[in-house]
């Protein structure tokens, strides 16, 4: 009885977070960022992954992230856009997961690393797709963009994290 309740709870929570991540990536199109390189996004959906890493088992967060990418890809994108997102999503997840376990980094640092590696993965895929190394001329701009967007998402994540922890303490003391 107890086990099935926690299982349903987990499924509901994962589904809710995935829906949230999908809404975030949908809303993102409304916020254009111009840094001289087209296609730079804030990565709001990464909020869910970053905050999630500090609350849930890594496997569940990875599942939420991959499911979001696939669903958004099939709904609004195409095969290629899924490939780009998946490369960025998987590499940044791996790096964020590792960094989280290294002492001394806060959630903001984890998010910065995620933003940067996401962009690096995407430029690598893009260079492979068009078979042209000249694409790496965009790398400096993409590194800077990754730091900026990662930091913004990180600061937001930090606020969410402390708010959720505060609520958690309140409800557990009740």
């Amino acid at each position: 009885m107890r086990d099935s309740r926690t299982a349903s709870r987990k499924i509901a929570l994962c589904a809710m977070l995935m829906a949230l991540a999908m809404i975030f990536s949908y809303v993102e199109v409304l916020i254009p960022i111009n840094l001289g390189v087209p296609g730079i996004k804030l990565g709001i959906a990464n909020l869910v992954v970053v905050v999630g890493l500090f609350f849930f088992p890594a496997g569940e967060v990875l599942m939420i992230s991959v499911a979001r990418i696939l669903l958004m890809g099939y709904l609004f994108g195409n095969g290629m856009s899924i490939l780009y997102s998946l490369a960025g999503g998987l590499l940044s997840f791996l790096v964020m997961f590792l960094l989280k376990h290294i002492k001394g980094f806060s959630i903001t640092g984890v998010s910065i690393a995620g933003g940067v590696t996401h962009n690096v993965a995407q430029i690598c895929v893009a260079a492979l797709v068009v078979q042209n190394r000249k694409l790496f001329y965009y790398l400096p701009a993409l590194l800077v963009a990754g730091v900026i967007t990662g930091m913004l998402i990180g600061i937001l994540s930090d606020r969410i994290l402390s708010a959720v922890k505060r609520e958690g303490r309140k409800s557990s003391s009740r």
């Binding site: 980094f105 042209n132 001329y137 790398l139 400096p140 730091v147």
Partner: protein, 127 residues
């Protein structure tokens, strides 16, 4: 934010700065040809000296590049995102316009004799 976070951010920014210098510094002069590659294979090379419209039709779709006064921009493209049209104009060596959906890259190159040299050459020699 912790100290290590800032070190990480600083290190990445430093790396970006070094890369930017290393990539841009060696060649910043204006180029004189535009090379178009599709799927990694050369589609054509066009002179920047003359104003022209280059239409590229491949299995991926159609792109129209315009060469005007020694610089190149993407005038039209039927790709889904249209990012290539927003990449502005390029004229310096190694600058690129990329259309990812069509796997097309337009890059500015120099074949040795720069356009500046051509400008310096006298039109008429009067004795």
């Amino acid at each position: 934010m912790k100290k290590k976070d800032l070190i990480l951010a600083g290190a990445v920014l430093l790396l970006a700065g070094i890369l930017a210098l290393a990539l841009r510094l060696p060649k910043t002069e204006n180029g004189n040809t535009m090379k178009v590659t599709v799927d990694g294979e050369v589609y054509g090379t066009y002179s920047l000296a003359e104003n022209q419209t280059v239409k590229i039709q491949t299995g991926h779709g159609t792109n129209v590049l315009v060469i005007e006064n020694g610089s190149v921009h993407m005038e039209e493209a039927d790709c889904p995102d249209g990012y290539c049209k927003r990449q502005g104009t390029i004229s310096r060596v190694n600058e690129t316009i990329v259309c990812l959906p069509h796997k097309l890259v337009a890059e500015v190159e120099s074949d040795g004799s720069t356009t500046d040299d051509a400008d310096d050459a006298p039109d008429v020699i009067v004795k």
